[in-house]
């Protein structure tokens, strides 16, 4: 079974992001970038399926600027076999990403696409669902457990009320939740081996997709600063302040 794993290059989760002075977005110049953490979980799950003998090949895909090849290299160091970079300087939106992934799925003919449930930069949580819809494939989103068995795949999903288990036929799309696994750390020999694994580079036009954004960002602002707290002397004073000052009760 071939597995496709799209990986996104995002601002590192340790970085405290700053809004650009002109309010058009978040500052990314000179900021540490790394693989979206949910995509790391997706790669890890694919590698585990390969180690179990379920998968035969893992292809890591990234869409974005040329530096996304670094993100693909990270995936290759974790255990993916080869990479595909769809290079564009445009800010691609989920629908464009889903269309490009659909074209790649038709080219690569995988049985499974595993994606992170969302990217930590825009928190859209849309690409996996859009891809499944475009392909007409079943989808198991927010997976906390995945088992490939009897020619299908069972996905345990984290939902508000607890856990929901769905059985999907293959081919299918799965998106990963936080508790699916703990991604491995790539060792130095694997980082070196990853340098020798192939990365195919193409443009959105090669896939017949126009990535021009359809959405317009009006303004990006910092969240309001938290104000200092107040100490209250008694429960009665607390209730009074909640009622008269905060006006929440």
């Amino acid at each position: 079974m071939k597995i496709l794993v799209p990986v996104k290059r995002v601002v590192d989760y340790n970085v405290k992001v700053r809004v650009k002075a002109d309010g058009t977005g978040v500052e990314t110049a000179g900021v540490k970038m790394s693989m979206n953490p949910f995509d790391e979980i997706a790669i890890e799950e694919a590698v585990r399926l390969k180690e179990k003998g379920v998968a035969t090949e893992i292809v890591a895909i990234s869409i974005g600027v040329a530096a996304c090849s670094e993100t693909i290299r990270t995936a290759l160091a974790m255990g993916a076999d080869r990479g595909v970079l769809v290079e564009t300087d445009m800010a691609v939106e989920p629908i464009a990403v889903a269309k490009m992934l659909k074209a790649l799925v038709e080219k690569e003919q995988p049985q499974l696409v595993i994606l992170g449930k969302q990217a930590i930069d825009d928190d859209m949580s849309a690409t996996g669902q859009m891809l499944a819809a475009l392909l007409g494939w079943p989808q198991g989103t927010f997976a906390s457990k995945v088992a490939v068995e009897n020619g299908g795949i069972t996905v345990t999903r984290e939902v508000d009320g607890g856990l929901e288990t769905v059985a999907l036929t293959l081919p299918a799309v799965v998106t990963t939740d936080l508790r699916l696994n703990e991604p491995r750390y790539a060792s130095l020999p694997n980082i070196r081996k990853a340098r020798k694994k192939p990365i195919e580079t193409m443009k959105p036009a090669d896939l017949g997709v126009d990535p021009t954004p359809r959405l317009t960002v009006l303004r990006v602002t910092e969240p309001p600063k938290r104000r200092a707290g107040q100490k209250v002397g008694s429960v009665a004073e607390l209730v009074m302040k909640l009622r008269t000052e905060a006006k929440v009760i």
Binding site: R73, A77, Y185, S187, L188, R192
Partner: protein, 376 residues
Amino acid sequence: MQFSFTSEQEEFRSILRRFLEAKSPATAVRRLMETETGWDRTAWHDLNQQLGLTAVHIPEDYGGQGFSFVELGIVLEEMGRALLCAPYFASTALAATAILNAGTEAQKREWLPQIANGSCIATLAFTEPNGRWDTSGVEMTAISSDGRFRLDGVKSFVLDGHTADLIVVLARRPGSTGNDSLSFFTVPGNASGLARRPLQVLDPTRKQARLEFRSVEADLLGEEGAAAAPFAKTMTQAAACLANEMVGGAERLRQSALDYATLRVQFGRTIASFQSMKHKQADMLVDVELAKSAAYAAASAAAEDNADLPAIASLAKAAASEAYMQTAISTIQIHGGIGFTWDNDTHLWFKRAKSSEVFLGDPAWHRELIMRAWNV
């Protein structure tokens, strides 16, 4: 001279930093430093199974990864930054290096794969209660009888000596004083006649032990009477390694001082905005960056087996010792009253700075070694 890390090395550093931040937060350091062993097997297993760190500079022929002292330096710098409590320096930087320098082919094939996969924790016992770092301090005797050797004497300040599975010991022929009578030996940690006692030391994050040998049977490592040259080489390589570990700790302290200064508000503004604070931060940055350059140069020289390594390694050790210690002092000052409390983590690195300053010789000793290396 131009030196920079490759993108591959930078990626490795980034992954390693993330790994150590997850596995060795200050809470883990505080927990382990209170234990007698000083480290924990699960974390050691993760270190070796996930990243194979104990194998980094051991050649592939002996079960290692075949990288150089530059990569080992990166590992140590990140471990110094995280203040990792593990017998890594003892087993990998000291013992494995000594075996590589002194062992026969068969001995390397016997011991190095076990050290590389982390199943054998080794250490190097060379210092004695007299506290000397060179061979003139070696008083332990090795008596040969029917091709077997028995060791008598005391080794002290042995890193992780109370928990190591294998001890590489430096000893001399009875009654001798010169370098031509020195030999390396290997002794199992549970050998009969060996008494091991953990020492109460300043730095609880790096355990040391006193080892008393009473007619302990030992195996010769390498050639009899030929340990002086491999020992000297091991010490210079170890000094380069320690310098890299120290600059990692110094950088961590510098950053924590800066973070605190930009957070702490006094007289309506952050204390980082005061001129005296800026001077201190600038001095710290210069000290740490200079020490880093020296440490990286030493690791590079060790990787190339450069003839200038003894001088460069000593220069790096002296520079890193002073930079780490001064950075630790300044970090406490910048933190003000909270800086020397138990709750604040600075004292953990401060103690490591002090113990590392002395270990393998203080800056004055290393400046003396630079002069000797330059024949001054």
